[in-house]
Symmetry: C2
Subunit: 150 residues, 2 copies
Amino acid sequence: MSILGTMQVCQVGLVVHDIEKSLDAYCEVFGIPRPPVRITDEYELTRAVYRGQPTRGRAKLAFIDMGQVQIELIEPVGEPSTWKEALDEKGEGVHHIAFVIKDTDQVVKDLAQKDMPMVQQGHYTGGMYTYVDCVEKLGVTLELLENFKG
Amino acid sequence: MSILGTMQVCQVGLVVHDIEKSLDAYCEVFGIPRPPVRITDEYELTRAVYRGQPTRGRAKLAFIDMGQVQIELIEPVGEPSTWKEALDEKGEGVHHIAFVIKDTDQVVKDLAQKDMPMVQQGHYTGGMYTYVDCVEKLGVTLELLENFKG
């Protein structure tokens, strides 16, 4: 059984230096209207934790729907984050593949037991995200998205 | 209109150092039966061209079905290839996202005009693949898959 409770990749996330420039290129190649760019919430709302420490690291985000899979463009802003770390270390490229899951605590625990540690976690309106460092095992970071009910 | 004639990502391809070890991890995390590992055909069949030169570069491949999207694991073997280049330069990680397209020559021409040059092309039984270097523009290499009819 899948530790994540799902096999369905819902998103491929890329870190980029200049989200407006990257969006230009995506819109040109795929002939799509320009999606809006938004910035992640401030720490008071996200309560973001990066490598065990609270972080004010933020990011500009844009989402491009490509059928089942969404492309997420991420331009890191400010303080440390998994996004900034990836961009600094490897340059532009795919940072994560994402899955919608149900029980973040259990999944994080199960992955940690297999040497895949949580690297960043935070909240957004209606849910929470968790990045798990699976680069050594799976070649890519996993993002776990849990949307709260009600 | 999409230059590719499609928006649907069909595959996310990762380069890895040891495909058997990576497969172990994927099977463990996603609770799936182990897919077979095969090796790309020899040059006499693939007629592979890498950066304008014929190449005997090959790769071990494994495919994992994740709903609409397939994860492709790629372990480069031997001579130069886009796979080996990516692994040498950036380490393990996502190499490409793939799309099934219809007219490779036209799409390659249209992308080249927008400064996204073809980097590798080759044949497999029933079709051909083309990698286009879109790293600078889109943050990732695109793979164009064209399956021949009949």
